[in-house]
């Protein structure tokens, strides 16, 4: 791209007329006369072809690298919501999940197909679950989470604001619908230790959930939503709740459950002992358990790498097309 330094015939005559007082005056003058030195890019064939080529050259390697990072991640996904229902309840899942007398435990066998290096992240994934519904998102009280009962203007929490005339802590639909499936992992004989600390954002723990706020009057209503909370642990330490309360962006989402801090070898079989407590049957949501390692890029998702590769190669393609067209038009002006 060429840079026109604002020179030219007109400007030189101008310079004659206006005595050169100082650079500042000169600049002001140029500004007022709209003749500031400027870069005036023109889409010349040379530039266009170079730009496309350059983009291709940069994007393809980036795509390859990200694709490699994504591929290096080992991810095991296991959908268990339909499997973990006893045969007799298959036709009436609601009866199963609503009946607290039926034992909800269930075992799943996961085969590790490739060696997984610690830390292995455990996620639960819900589909068709609208955590981003406007009513749901707004249904919490940030002040109450931080200050507890001292704060009582919690109208946003309706209808989970109070129970039997007493306020609920933590109030609102989000907390009320807390996810409460639990997982335990056994490899061979030994139980795999699951680290459930540090699964929430540090800023959430430190600044959004009070250190001295304890659950109060929680899940005491007629309609029980999701999980219950340990009344003796302050909210800032209830990481499950904190993770859950950080609402998901889309109706299909994963949330971190914990970490396995041991390597898993290929062909290891991990037995998952889970409690299938959470009701997704009423709205046809799926529940999945995900074990995944991570790379520098995060988890497993080829989209980015493929997109980079695609864009990069299309750029190169376009640049070749342009080059050919250009050569053709040059030959026959």
């Amino acid at each position: 791209m060429d840079v026109d330094e604002g020179s030219g015939l007109r400007d030189s005559t101008e310079a004659h007329r206006i005595p050169r007082r100082s650079r500042w005056h000169e600049a002001i003058h140029q500004f007022k006369q709209q003749t500031l030195p400027a870069c005036k890019p023109v889409l010349t064939p040379k530039w266009v072809i170079t730009t496309f080529l350059l983009m291709g050259v940069i994007f393809i390697p980036v795509g390859l690298i990200t694709l490699r990072a994504s591929r290096s991640v080992v991810e095991i996904v296991d959908r268990y919501d339909s499997e973990c229902i006893p045969e007799e309840y298959k036709s009436n899942k609601m009866a199963y999940i609503k009946d607290s007398s039926i034992p909800k435990n269930c075992s799943r066998f996961l085969k590790v197909y490739r060696r997984m290096k610690a830390p292995i992240y455990i996620y639960y994934q819900l589909d068709n679950y609208y955590q981003n519904h406007r009513r749901y998102v707004k249904s919490k009280s940030e002040q109450q989470l931080l200050h507890g009962l001292k704060f009582n203007a919690t109208s946003t929490c309706k209808p989970q604001e109070s129970n039997n005339g007493r306020p609920v802590v933590p109030c609102g639909l989000i907390a009320w619908s807390l996810f409460n499936d639990t997982y335990a992992f056994i490899r061979g004989r030994s139980e795999l230790k699951v680290n459930r600390n540090n699964i929430a954002w540090k800023s959430d723990r430190d600044h959004k959930f009070g250190k001295h706020v304890y659950p109060f009057n929680f899940q005491n209503g007629t309609l029980i939503g999701g999980g219950n909370l340990d009344l003796s642990i302050p909210l800032s330490d209830q990481e499950d709740l904190i993770v859950w309360m950080r609402t998901a962006a889309l109706p299909s989402f994963r949330k971190l459950y914990g970490r396995i801090e041991e390597d898993l070898d290929a062909d290891d079989v991990v037995v998952v002992k889970l409690m299938n407590n959470y009701n997704t049957y009423s709205f046809g949501g799926k529940k999945k358990l995900v074990l995944s390692t991570s790379s520098w890029l995060g988890g497993k998702n080829d989209f980015l790498g493929v997109a980079y590769l695609f864009v990069g190669s299309s750029c190169i393609f376009i640049s070749i097309v342009f080059l050919l067209l250009h050569m053709k038009s040059q030959r026959s002006p």
């Binding site: 006369q33 519904h133 800023s203 600044h207 950080r246 995944s292 497993k300 998702n301």
Partner: protein, 1186 residues
């Protein structure tokens, strides 16, 4: 009052017959009937009958608002803009729980926008008001009850008051002239503010009232005037004066119009007839309309389109929302139990899903309101004000001589300057300096005068266009040097070493030369005025031509210094003795100039007792009157006259004859008899008598006077014509003058065919004499119709023949006079007239009144539907300036009325070129780009919200934090777009002027055409799709960092928003053609500011920052994925536009693309390889031809 009345000359006698002739003998019968019902009790404004009539006071107001109605009216004006109205509704609703975001974030910008615009309106109106106050409070002397003249304010004048007006004062109202400081009750008036003419006009009181020169005489002066009702016709007045039991007809001769000026007369007395808004000048003023540019009007349409889109997507959302909500509660079973559908407010109630859906619809209207850019109007206002500042500061439009820069008075219309299709120009004072210069003459068959006229210069330039163009420019500069060395004399630009400095005595025909200049010095009606200080003599002449002759004679040694009623005194250079002598000529008769006679003569007796008839006149009438032995130089003179006419000069033939006593005696008798006759055909008799003596003339030579064009006018008109702008000249001048100027400013060319439409045909004149009004009207209509049809058929046949033979078709010039125009503008002819007019390359309307000018302007505006621009300098152009889409006032020497009524004021006509081709083009381009881009950026943003909605089951949850959204239009994207609107240039000013065709982009509205606008909108939708789907697909569901954290609502919002900010700002960087540090600063600064904002906002307490708390620092910044996604998404959003532009510049280049490429290649290949540019030139030419 002890003042002595001037006895001196009886001008009434000097102006022998043209003045006294009362113009409209008819009409008086209509007094008292409809339209002629006004009654004025002179000197008796308190008369109960007068009071009962309740004529309006003399208070004049031109403001748009008053103190009372300002708030409601300006608010109304504001909310006429659809977008503003929409935002008002939104702001009201946003206080309800329906709103997806907080009310302040909507209300605040609206208040700012409306407030800023109202302040602007108020300031503009205040300026108008100040002027009104000044005009209303002008002091006037009024005859009061205690029988003296007392000073009072102009606004207190009442109908019937007697006022005294002094020299050089403006008349405070329309007055009936009673008497003046001259014994015979005449006075001189300058009507520049009314019709732009600077020459003095003579007004004449009725003889019965002219004795009222004494204050005492008004004691018992009682009279009644019955006259026409207020109307806008400046050139007619019908009324009757009832005085002493007798009726006296009144005509325009006795009427002094408001805003004209008393000149050369010590004082006058007059009766107020029309006051305030009833005066003719105010009746001529049309209401100041509020003008809006075409782009702005189309913008409203786009807003409608967007609004429909908004409604549509909101509706779609609501339908889905209804379905989803309804299903949540199915026979007591909760579907999405976590939303508690059994216990909801009305907004989510599944039992009343339809109502919920309707309420959701309202919410959605607010949520997607980002589609409609609220800051668009305010940004455009800001941009336009800044653009105006640049226009005001442009040094190339600054006129040093009068210290006047260009001035954009309204900033609404900047971009309209880039779309002008037709220019309607006034002539006097606009194209010309309104001064005549004596430049050449032909005496005894020899051409004198070396000066070059503007036209000649222009011709020379056109002929030698090409690489050899340094020769004429040298000559020009040489010429300019000579001019500069001497002190210029106004009206005189004659350079010839054979004549100047008394060198003419050495010429072979020096006796002829002497006679020639004697004629110039004697044959005129000018009055010398010796200034007391310097002793220099200046002349008050009826026309500037005449002044130029007298001045020329003076400069060449024949100084006219004294006039009495019967004599003319000259200070002559005698070529025999070589000394100056004073000679007195006895003035016997003046045979006046009139447009039918086209000549003027004086009969004088010189010191040698010779009787001489000195005559000057148009060549068409003069050559046939020459004596057989007076045709010595006829051939050469004719040849010279033709040359002068070609050079755009006004020529007159000078001749004389000697009379013998007998012949003269006989003739005088006849002439006086004719003059004193009282029959209807008196004028004809007088003319015939004059005709008898003006025969057997001896030709002396011819003069050539230049109606000095303003500097650079032909070049400017040429450039504008190259830019495809049609130029019409509307002038009050007579046809010959107008045509001459047409030639002079290269509006008419020799190779053009003229179509002249006039009612000056003998049969119509004959009919007029008979006084049968209806017959005249009918005959005129028929004649006009015939002429119009003939014109059209001429053009058609020319078109047919030219298309079959060759490409170069004949251009036509239409010339039409005021009377014909009046008929042509009648409803049934309008179309025909217009059809004829648009097929002509140039149109000249002469003798047109201000109202006609305005009507022609309106006709052009309405019929073409394209942008019209009017240029004018006098108050007579005000209507035209206001009627046109853009009014440009020339802030010249004349009054400020035109400037006050204009939208732009420039000091010289030639600045119009820069104003249109450079600023107009830039502003048009900037604004249209800006508007397109505005829609792009808001659609990009708005549609990401919509896509996100689809994933929240259309519950109305915005994807972003409230404050990201509020700041989107204010901080993250506003400044670059303003920089675009203020600074962007596709090509530099130099190239704009070099390639006037570039201007067509504006006229054809290429940059703001629907395909282009829709293209940008679609680009916006594509960008939003890319942003939303690429970022969600790459981020969901896996961990986005090494520590296994997943993307949640907050991170996704930030990522998408980052992509939006990057994408729209980079798109801007791609779209603009001009990067100074300002653009860089704004564009990259806006992006940087987003991050800075996020850091600062994120570090506030979570109460304030809510979802943004530490989101960048803690969550996003450490994630490589976040950055990689940003890069990918941004590049992808830019690719479609970039590829399109690359393709377009190559294969379908727009005109500015070509110019840019040419500039680039010129810069890269200095001088040597010009040949390579050939293909570009060809492309450029192809563009020109289509």
């Amino acid at each position: 009052m002890p003042e002595r009345r001037k006895k001196g000359i009886h001008f009434s006698k000097l102006y022998s017959f043209s003045c006294i002739r009362s113009s409209h003998e008819d009409n008086h019968a209509q007094i008292g009937q409809r339209g002629y019902s006004r009654v004025v009790y002179c000197n008796d404004p308190d008369n109960p009958e007068q009071v009962q009539l309740r004529y309006r006071g003399n208070y004049v107001s031109t403001t748009k608002y008053t103190a009372v109605n300002f708030i409601p009216k300006s608010l109304f004006e504001q909310f006429r803009r659809v977008a503003n109205l929409y935002f008002l509704v939104v702001a009201c609703v946003s206080f309800s729980p329906l709103a997806p975001y907080s009310a302040i974030s909507v209300l605040a910008p609206l208040v700012v926008v409306i407030g800023a615009t109202m302040v602007k309106e108020a300031v503009e109106d205040w300026r108008r008001r100040k002027q009104d106050i000044e005009a209303n409070n002008r002091k006037v002397e009024v005859y009061s009850r205690n029988h003296t003249f007392q000073k009072t304010r102009g606004k207190n004048l009442r109908v019937g008051d007697i006022v005294k007006v002094y020299k050089d004062d403006y008349f405070p109202a329309d007055l009936l002239l009673l008497s003046s400081s001259y014994e015979d009750g005449i006075c001189y008036v300058e009507t520049m503010n009314l019709d732009g003419e600077t020459n003095l006009k003579l007004k004449h009181a009725l003889e019965v009232t002219s004795h009222l020169y004494d204050e005492k005489s008004f004691n018992d002066f009682m009279a009644v005037i019955r006259c026409e009702d207020p109307n806008e016709n400046l050139y007619s007045f019908v009324g009757t004066l009832y005085y002493d039991g007798t009726q006296y007809p009144l005509s325009l001769q006795q009427i002094l119009l408001r805003d004209s000026k008393l000149k050369n007369t010590e004082y006058i007395y007059g009766v107020v007839v029309f006051t305030g808004h009833d005066t003719k000048v105010m009746q001529n003023a049309t209401d100041p309309p509020s003008k809006r540019s075409k782009i702005e009007r189309r913008m409203d349409k786009i807003i409608y389109v967007l609004f429909s889109t908004l409604v549509l997507i909101s509706f779609i959302g609501s339908v889905f929302f209804e379905i989803e909500t309804k299903e949540d509660l199915n026979h007591g079973k909760l579907r999405r139990w976590y939303l508690r559908p059994d216990d909801t407010p009305v907004f989510y109630n599944p039992k009343r899903a339809t109502l919920a859906a309707f309420l959701h619809f309202l919410t959605a209207l607010m949520l997607y309101g980002y589609l409609i850019p609220i800051s668009l109007y305010v940004s455009i206002e800001i941009v336009k004000v800044l653009q105006s500042i640049f226009i005001n500061h442009d040094q190339d439009m600054y006129y040093e001589e009068t210290d006047k820069p260009a001035h954009a008075r309204t900033s609404n219309l900047n971009e309209e300057l880039g779309q002008v299709d037709t220019i309607l120009s006034d002539k006097t004072g606009t194209l010309t300096c309104n001064s005549m210069e004596f430049v050449k003459c032909s005496i005894a068959g020899t051409a004198y005068g070396r000066g070059m006229t503007e036209v000649e210069v222009a011709l020379a330039r056109r002929r030698t266009d090409g690489p050899t163009d340094d020769i004429p420019s040298d000559r020009l500069s040489h010429d300019a040097d000579i001019r500069g060395s001497e002190k210029p004399i106004k009206g005189f630009n004659f350079r010839d070493e054979r004549i100047n400095n008394s060198q003419w005595v050495n010429e072979p025909h020096c006796d002829v030369i002497q006679k020639f200049f004697r004629v110039l010095a004697i044959c005129h009606t000018a009055i010398p005025d010796k200034s007391k200080d310097s002793g220099e003599i200046s002349y008050e002449a009826e026309s500037p031509d005449e002044a130029a002759f007298v001045i020329a004679a003076r400069e060449l040694g024949f100084e006219f210094f004294g006039r009495t009623q019967t004599s003319i005194s000259l200070h002559e250079f005698d070529f025999k003795t070589g000394k100056g002598v004073d000679r007195v000529y006895e003035l016997l008769h003046v045979l006046e100039f009139s447009s039918s006679r086209k000549r003027m003569s004086v009969i004088v007796r010189n010191a040698e007792n010779q009787l001489l008839l000195l005559c000057k006149g148009a060549d068409s009438v003069m050559f046939e009157r020459l004596a057989k032995d007076g045709r010595m130089f006829e051939v050469q003179t004719k040849d010279h006259i033709n040359k002068y006419a070609e050079a755009g000069l006004r020529t007159l033939v000078i001749a004389y004859r000697e009379l013998n006593e007998e012949e003269y005696k006989k003739w005088e008798e006849e002439f006086l008899k004719a003059k004193t006759s009282v029959t209807l055909d008196r004028d004809a008799l007088v003319d015939a008598a004059a005709d008898k003596i003006e025969r057997d003339l001896i030709l002396l030579g011819a003069t050539a006077v230049e109606d000095k064009l303003q500097k650079g006018v032909p070049e400017c008109i040429n450039k504008l014509a190259q830019a495809g702008i049609k130029i019409w000249v509307l002038t009050g001048d007579k046809m010959e003058t107008a045509v001459n100027i047409g030639y002079a400013c290269s509006l008419l060319r020799q190779d053009m065919k003229q179509i002249i439409i006039t009612l000056d045909s003998p049969d119509i004149i004959a009919l007029e004499k008979q006084g049968d009004k209806e017959a005249v009207a009918k005959a005129s209509l028929d004649s006009i119709e015939k002429q119009l049809r003939e014109g059209i058929s001429q053009i058609q046949s020319a078109k047919e023949s030219s298309s079959s033979v060759n490409k170069g078709s004949i251009a036509f010039g239409l010339i039409i006079d005021g009377k014909s125009l009046e008929f042509s503008l009648k409803k049934n002819f309008e179309k025909t007239f217009f059809e004829l007019a648009i097929n002509c390359a140039s149109v000249i309307c002469c003798r047109s009144t201000p109202k006609q000018k305005a009507r022609v302007t309106r006709l052009v505006k309405l019929e073409t539907g394209k942008t019209t621009l009017s240029v004018g300098d006098g108050a007579n152009d005000v209507g035209m300036l206001q009627e046109a889409d853009i009014g440009v006032g020339i802030s010249g020497v004349e009054g400020m009325q035109a400037v006050m009524a204009s939208d732009f004021a420039i000091a010289q006509f030639r600045f119009l070129e820069r104003l249109l081709l450079v600023h107009g083009h830039w502003c048009y381009r900037r604004i249209s780009m800006m508007v397109c881009y505005f829609f792009y950026k808001n659609i990009t943003f708005g549609f990401t919200l919509f896509w996100y909605e689809a994933y929240t089951s259309f519950s109305g949850q915005p994807a972003y934090n409230d404050w990201y959204m509020s700041f989107y239009n204010v901080f993250f994207t506003s400044l670059p777009v303003i920089a675009l609107g203020v600074f962007d240039q596709d090509v530099s000013a130099r190239l704009c002027l070099k390639h006037p065709l570039l201007y067509r982009e504006g006229v054809e509205n290429i940059l703001f055409s629907w395909p282009r606008i829709l293209g940008w909108m679609i680009n916006g939708v594509i960008s939003s799709i890319i942003i939303f789907f690429f970022s969600t697909n790459s981020l969901i569901n896996q961990a986005f960092r090494r520590d296994g954290k997943v993307v949640d609502f907050e991170v996704l919002g930030v990522t998408m928003y980052t992509c939006v900010v990057w994408a729209v700002n980079c798109q801007m960087a791609l779209a603009i053609n001009y990067f100074t540090w300002i653009q860089h600063f704004f564009i990259w600064g806006s992006i940087a500011f987003w991050y800075i904002f996020l850091v600062i906002y994120g570090s506030l307490s979570p109460n304030v920052s809510t979802t943004a708390y530490k989101v960048l620092v803690e969550a996003c910044a450490p994630s490589a994925l976040y950055w990689l996604v940003t890069v990918l998404v941004v590049i992808c959003t830019l690719l479609p536009y970039f590829s399109f532009r690359a393709f377009q510049t190559w294969f379908r280049p727009m005109y500015h693309d070509l110019i840019q490429q040419e500039r680039l290649e010129e810069a890269e290949l200095p001088l040597a390889v010009r040949g390579n540019l050939q293909h570009l030139r060809e492309k450029l030419n192809n563009k020109r031809d289509p």
